[in-house]
Symmetry: C2
Subunit: 441 residues, 2 copies
């Protein structure tokens, strides 16, 4: 008789912690992910702003799970499922499961305006973060070489759309770059002339936090030169400009760099799972899971993390945060191990350790239990908690190091990568035949 096979689709927080929890157990576990690495998403904006490097916040799943001989890692994209035959179809074959954990999360979305994508990149993957980093630092480089004052002003205008934790942290990091870290780096421009605008549809930043913390966060942002616009909607985005509506007024901001930190939608595999199982989802496409995180009509399928709608009653549900996904992954591992010993399962309960948002050095707002924390203490707590949460021990050292850098007004990695224009193309664009310069044989 074969061992009970658990397949985990997705190696984010939910999937990876489920796999880690099942390490050494009597289950045959396969972790399927389209990437070969786990991403510490809450710090992604620090890669986008040059504070941390890519390696600091990503860990190869197979290295994390190296010692777990019962866990296999497979890099491939799941694209379909047959819940009757209990088979996952992936890019490179099929996988049969006895129990399935789906942890494919969410991606960002543009509320039906996919055409905005090119002009306002989002922040869900490493590639997004690098794209943002290129755009941010490229704008400063181009401004340095620009003689036209209007164009220079536009190059130094930055707009961040969405003032949830990601948008607030991104705008704060941008403010710190411009107001502190990059001061003195340029000759023709002053980085402090950069204008950063944070747009939010709700009536305050960090709408999920205590209103007093929202107020504090807004003050911190303003100290870093960020202009906060609440109750403000984006009507349109095009290259170099964003059209806003605030009450009755419509305004167009000219900005070279527009960054998107608003709105998520479920992953492609989430939609496929919904179709194939016919299970109920909420308006956002998240699965209404049972208290043990299984699907009502498919007790062998479990959904964790951002893809799960875990009801708290009264129309409330758990938020899409890393700690929720981690605890759900760990919970499933524990539950499955109890099953092997024929112990009954318990329903999932989330232990809320609190949430925090960092806006700059010493500028952190947080709520821990019923307590609100701000300022230096919160900043220190924030740093300790985040360093401690990193997956690989080595990363703790490296991130600490890079934060010390930043503390001293340096950054780890502001490179503009992606191939620069080819000389031959520049020549062609100017009507010069590149062959002119070929050497005689």
């Amino acid at each position: 008789m074969h061992k009970h096979r658990i397949v985990i689709v997705g190696g984010g927080f939910g999937g990876l912690f489920a796999a880690r929890g099942l390490c050494g157990s009597d289950y045959d576990v396969t972790l399927l992910d389209k990437r070969n690495f786990h991403l510490f998403q809450p710090l992604l904006y620090q890669v986008a702003t040059g504070i941390l490097t890519v390696g600091d916040i990503s860990a190869q799943q197979r290295v994390v799970l190296r010692k777990c001989k019962n866990v296999r890692t497979l890099m491939s994209t799941a694209y379909d499922i047959d819940p009757q035959r209990k088979i996952i179809h992936h890019e490179r074959g099929e996988l049969a499961y006895d129990t399935l954990i789906v942890a494919t999360g969410v991606k960002h979305q543009y509320f039906g305006h996919d055409e905005w994508r090119h002009n306002a990149p989002g922040l869900k993957t490493i590639e997004h973060a690098l794209e943002m980093r290129h755009r941010i630092f490229r704008a400063f480089e181009l401004a340095e070489g620009e003689s036209d004052p209007d164009r220079r002003r536009r190059l130094l205008n930055f707009v961040v759309v969405g003032a949830g934790p990601t948008g607030v942290e991104l705008a704060g990091a941008l403010g710190e770059l411009a107001q502190r870290i990059m001061v003195g780096d340029y000759r023709a421009i002053d980085s402090r002339d950069a204008r950063i605008t944070l747009i939010e549809g709700a009536d305050r930043v960090l709408p999920a936090f205590d209103p007093r913390l929202s107020k504090k966060a807004q003050r911190y942002l303003e100290q870093l030169g960020v202009e906060v616009r609440t109750q403000c909607m984006v009507q349109d985005i095009a290259a170099g400009r964003v059209q806003l509506q605030q009450g009755e007024e419509v305004e167009t901001l000219e900005a070279e760099t527009i960054l998107w930190a608003a709105g998520v939608q479920v992953s492609a595999f989430g939609r496929i799972l919904a179709k194939r199982t016919g299970e109920e989802t909420d308006r956002g496409g998240r699965f209404l899971v049972q208290p043990d995180l299984s699907l009502p009509n498919h007790p062998d399928i479990h959904v964790v993390g951002d893809l799960a709608h875990f009801s708290l009653g009264e129309g409330r549900s758990l938020p899409g945060l890393a700690p929720v996904a981690i605890q759900q992954g760990e919970y499933l591992a524990k539950t499955f191990k109890r099953r092997l010993k024929n112990k009954p399962g318990k329903p999932f309960r989330y232990f809320d350790k609190g949430s925090m948002a960092i806006i700059g050095r010493y500028r952190v707002v947080g709520q821990i239990g019923g307590m609100r924390v701000t300022g230096f203490t919160a900043w220190f707590l924030w740093a300790v908690v985040h360093v401690w949460s990193l997956i690989e021990p080595g990363q703790r050292l490296s991130v600490t190091l890079h934060w010390l850098w930043r503390f001293m007004g340096r950054t780890a990695d502001r490179l503009i990568t992606g191939n620069p224009p080819k000389t031959s193309n520049i020549l062609k664009a100017r009507g010069i035949d590149p062959k002119t310069f070929e050497r005689a044989p």
Copy 2:
């Protein structure tokens, strides 16, 4: 009267050290580079093999030169020059110079076989290194999921073309990955089954080194499972296979991953400079510079680094190494500063501190003065010299940290980045309409 304007084209070793040397002087200096960062090229192969991260070996020029108020950094690509009017044309405008330093170096080439480029990436830029890294780690990932033994074997075959320092170090790092660092990471494959072949046209590896060191290097490589083939020529490269000729014999190697470490050609701007000035170049296109690194008929134009052919007499010239470029950049800065004091210039003299190649942990060959060094001592010396040579103080700490990792059998960053295939494309390729899974509005 305006200050004397020195324009430096290219921010590699030669250009950056010239700019640093002119820091605080009475010259008006502009450093023009198409990238916003300097690259520590001798360690690029360590990024390609996951040992170091991108941030470890690249430094933003403007951060390095932050305190040099007389030095301006401009990110733009130079595409033409008018030596009569003393003007550089670049992507974003023109730059007038009184004195010009050209340090645009070389790029890799395929000896007339540009069609090999796609199947055998080279190693001159960060993008190349990341491309190599993707291919190397992707091959192992695909092998892990491959059931067909022939295809699996091909996925685990690696070919490195060229056994100069880059090729030898790359093959050695690959050998160490497969034989030591990655052992135990996979379930279906054993990384030690990887077969690494190093191809060299000359009769020994490291042809520029003492023959006894070549012999030692070859022994080191073989200890790491690298198969060395000397007097072996590449006849053709296609996707997944390379055709070799050794004496009369022709053989085809099946290998998913083919890495190119042979052959360089001058940069595009180098060719343009030759055409516009009519100055003499050697067979490789490098400029025959005067003892003061100026061009014979253009005493206001100086060429440093890989683009310069500095004759040592008897047909010999200085090699294209980082220390040569560094010393030439520093020499020019010193010479120009002497001029301000009306002191006469001295001819350039290269001080050879020796050269080393690292093949793996404790496996280093080097020659320092007349002395040959190998083994642990050489390894230690190699590490100290390289860490010391890094541009930014912070990088010294970070690189030391990552080398300690590697020492302990870890790597810094083996991520396969670049967007993975989209689920909708996978579905389409399998005849499934992605719209099937769209949610009803």
